[in-house]
Amino acid sequence: MSNDKPYSQLTVWLLAVRDHRDRAAFGDMFDHLAPRLKGFVIRCGARPALAEEIVQDVMLTIWRKAALFDPHKAQASAWIYQIARNRHIDILRKENRPVPDELGEDPGTEPDATQILALEQETLHLKQAIAQLHPDQKEMIEKAYIGDLTHQEISAQTGLPLGTVKSRIRLGLGRLRKELKGLR
């Protein structure tokens, strides 16, 4: 494990906000994240004015809910993605989406920095896999994750690398679990 900047920048910012209520880190994160979020939310179908409102709401939610961010369980970008989708829908529906209960630690696993790194590693592989998709495949994936496809439409799309992604994450976590057990 390299000690040189082991976590992604987004994770570093989020942890600074979570653990130290670090406004400077939050400001830097805003500069990086807000324009991308705005682009993403517009892709999700919001007009620019509403998109900006949603971005502000998402950023404020990140600030307020940072205590819930656990890099052992979710990559920073994955956590932010879910907040962005939830807030977008809550604002449109004016009603809170049902969200699952927090699950405790997986029996047999101790939260550990290697877990975080493994998840970040997965994110890198994932980005590479997405980058290698055919443009039309990529568009289909995008549509699915911006809420543009119903689940029937998603299930009709065969050949999406979702299964691979899922098994990768599971394999990664499974391997990690074994390694952790070996350490004890």
């Binding site: 900006e52 502000q56 962005a84 049902p98 209960d101 994936i141």
Partner: protein, 211 residues
């Protein structure tokens, strides 16, 4: 928790993450995700895909004062948001829908009771209470129906469903679920279309019972 054998199909978990499921289905999916580590891992994978797409979204400039406006709001007190934790057999998403109160059962006859939790033009969700040994009236579906077991179990032509299991029914499934011996079976059921009961009650009465 380890005994769950009937899960949410993967595309539906992706659709849940993306927010494209009807609210009633989201309640069932979020409830199952509260009980099932496997599907939770799948949700994590889908969120990761969403996150990867978000990170490489084309940047669109925010308006000039956006940042200073937001930084000025960081100390604003957040409006208190009620948090509904799981209580007894009911996962958080069900408690949220019940607004933290116990269910208010309405009798449907034969000991079967229900509590409608949610209804809109996209579908409805309700809790069902079925005494042991009692058949849920034979019904066919005109749409998609998700049934999550919260207490007890039921069996039908397709298998046995215990706590945490989800049965997915559509036009092709005509079945007679029967609550197994033991505790009364309590389920969270969501549908995107009105159910058509064949024998249990006259069709005319359906709007009255909203089944």
């Amino acid at each position: 928790m380890s005994a769950i054998t009937h899960h949410i199909p993967d595309p539906m978990i992706a659709a849940y993450a993306a927010g494209s499921l009807p609210h009633a289905f989201s309640m069932v999916v979020a409830s199952h995700l509260s009980l099932c580590r496997d599907c939770r891992a799948a949700l994590g994978a889908h969120q990761a895909v969403g996150g990867a797409l978000l990170e490489e979204a084309t940047a669109v400039a925010m308006s000039q004062n956006a940042k200073s406006n937001l930084m000025a709001r960081l100390d604003e007190p957040a409006a208190p948001e009620p948090v509904y934790d799981a209580k007894g057999i009911f996962p958080g998403p069900v408690m949220q829908s019940l607004k933290g109160r116990p269910p208010r059962w309405k009798t449907l006859g034969m000991g079967v009771k229900q509590n409608i939790l949610f209804e809109d033009e996209m579908g409805s969700a309700r809790l069902l209470y079925i005494p042991a040994g009692q058949a849920v009236p034979d019904h066919s579906h005109s749409g998609l129906e998700l049934t999550l077991v919260l207490q007890g179990s039921f069996s039908d032509e397709t298998g046995r469903f215990g706590v945490g299991d989800v049965e997915i029914g559509d036009e092709t499934l005509e079945h007679t679920p029967v609550a197994d011996a033991g505790d009364p079976c309590i389920c969270l059921a969501a549908t995107d279309a009105p159910l058509r009961f064949k024998a249990f009650m006259p069709r005319l009465l359906q709007p009255f019972f909203r089944i």
